[in-house]
């Protein structure tokens, strides 16, 4: 039980996928202008990542095994693409606004390196099924957490007297950097 908790805390805070591993930056920068969009993107990514980690574990262990290890990346990409497609259709049906807000970033979850990175890290760390699921879920929660916090900051920054050349993406990048700096405070918390 403690182990699972540590995995969760570790992936959400200490080894945060965006702030510490610096993965998944493109939706992090792209869909964080509005709070609702960030929450939506976080939820969609959480769904895809959790499902993706589980599915990729099954594929890795029951389909590929050690013989077909060279197919890992390829098959993971295919599976993730499938899940993203499914998510996209579901969101389009259930929430056209969210679909519109997420725009191009929704299909781009496929190429979100965090989404491919976590199943691959799972393989590397030799996680069992439950651990893989938790690792995927925790990573996604960490992603959502910093997305939402970042979106909150960016909404506030809209009113700030930021010097002209730093307006928009530039100050967002600096903020992301300083956030990453702050997250280093967690280092050493979980091995």
């Amino acid at each position: 039980m403690t182990e699972y908790l540590l995995i969760l805390v570790g992936t959400v805070l200490v080894n945060n996928i965006v702030m510490v591993k610096i993965l998944g930056l493109c939706p992090f920068m792209g869909v964080s202008k509005k709070l609702e969009a960030a929450v939506g993107m976080g939820a969609a990514t959480t769904f895809v990542l959790t499902l993706g980690s589980g599915a990729s574990y099954l594929i890795q262990h029951y389909l590929l095994g050690p013989d077909l290890a060279y197919l890992t990346t390829l098959s993971f990409i295919v599976v993730i693409a499938g899940i993203v497609q499914f998510t996209e259709m579901a969101i389009k049906k259930t929430s056209p606004e969210l679909y519109q807000i997420l725009g191009i970033y929704l299909p781009l979850i496929t190429t979100n390196c965090a989404v491919l990175g976590i199943p691959l890290l799972n393989v590397q760390a030799k996680h069992d099924f439950m651990e893989s699921l938790l690792f995927g879920f925790g990573g996604a929660v960490g992603f959502t957490l910093v997305m939402v916090l970042f979106a909150g900051i960016r909404e506030r920054l809209e009113g700030a007297d930021v010097p002209g050349v730093f307006k928009g993406s530039a100050i967002a990048m600096i903020t992301a950097g300083l956030m990453s700096l702050s997250f280093m405070g967690f280092s050493g918390l979980v091995k």
Partner: protein, 575 residues
Amino acid sequence: MRQLFKFHGGVHPPTHKAESTRTPIAQAKMPSRLVIPLHQHVGNRAVPVVQVGERVLKGQIIGRPDGRLSSAVHASTSGTVSAIDMQLVAHFSGLPDLCITLIPDGRDEWIEHSGVDYKQTPHTELRHLLREAGVVGLGGAVFPSDLKSYSNKHKIKTLVLNGAECEPYITCDDLLMRERAGDTLRGAEVLRELLYAEEVLIGIEDNKPEAIAAMKKAVEQDGHQHMEVIAVPTLYPGGGAKQLIRVLTGIEVAAGVRSTEKGVQCFNVATAWSTWRAIAHGEPLLSRIVTVTGNVEHAQNFEVLLGTPVEELVAQAGSRPDTNRHIMGGPMMGVDLPSGQVGVTKATNCIIEGSDKLFPPPAPALPCIRCTRCADVCPADLQPQDLYWFAKSNNFGKTQEFHLFDCIECGACAYVCPSHIPLVQYYRYAKSEIWQREREAQSAEVARERHEYRQFRIEREKQEKAERLAQKEKAALAAKPAVPAPLPVAAAPNADPDDTLQMRVDADVAKANLQLRIDAAVARAKEQAATAKPRNTDALTPAQQAEIAEIEARRAKLREMASGAGADDEPPKHN
């Protein structure tokens, strides 16, 4: 001892009330002219019903209420109407509005008037009298009192009589209560009757002991059963209607909610007095008590005819030479008047003469440091620093999310701001921008409807025309085999192919005629225009000509597209 409630925040600015309470209310001198705005109340501007040059009597209606939410305007004295035109008025914008200028004849001759016994008069009649007398809320909101004295099915428990007068400098209600407590309470009794209220709570801030004593004495003397005079703690803006209701009853009336829905109604003491004058004596609202204070030799309260130019009024209090502004109202919510020529209105409770010494110009504003002193004093429990943040960056949607429209613009936040940010001005700016957007959205909606209806109409006309044509042709086809038939009736006149042809020819002729007529008219107009004045397309700058050419091109393209679309649509059908 009655339990009093608290509202959040509030400030204690220096009151400066003692200056103007030393002497009793004085009658202001008859001015040389009266500038009476037709818009002295909430709602529609009154419609002038007199002519320039007409002689009017004191109390005669010169502006009729326009619509339900409006009020009457009267001649404050007898004299001659010298102008009905745009004059500067007491408004934040400093823009002119329609006013009637009256030259007094000095005779102060009343129109025939008489009061009624309110106990014997039906309520609708009483409310009508109030409306005709132009009685509006004199606390500053100037909402027509006839509308406020109607409970509209809501059970009113409490009538709050507002004598709090929380703004610094202003003492007109204080003096009114000291000197005219009896009539004020009688007026309150009328209003209580109209609302069927169970009790009247008279809230007076505890920095006015004389007024409290006078009102208490009057309640006792006249034996008012349901009335209670209550001293409330001095705390700005404790005299705001919502705040006073909260303090006296514990009820909170949110923005956009009528207090009657919560069983409370609130009137200013001066309104109650005017109500009594209007009902019992038939005297319309012609004058009011105005505190003249600030940078003057002897601050005092005056009974002033509505329309009296501010300059003539302040001269009577000895306005000092270094005065550089007239502020109408208090220092927290008042209006900086655009000119001394502005006439006193029903909303003018106070004129403060300002100088740089008395009101130093604001220090330059620094950025907000989110110290939340503003939030600590906000009587509406808002977060002024957030409202400012979003108003500053034109993020109006967010300002509304943070309840911008619950702001009562009391100015407490700007008063305490260590960065000296003109917070209230930001809120007013944001509010008026939002209102404008709403107006625009509404007119866009109307335009859309009109456009869609027009398209529907054109489509329908087209279809009808096509149907008519089709019918004619069908009838013509049917008529041909029917020719041998002996029945001439069957051959309807317009079923004849020749007839149809004839019609077409007719149409062509008509068209040609129209064209001829147009041409002739064009020639005529051109001639006329040439003699009368230059055409608007003459003497154009190249830029304007380019613009016209561009519009022409756009039109041509539109026509083309429209005809293209029309061709696609043949035969007409809705998809």
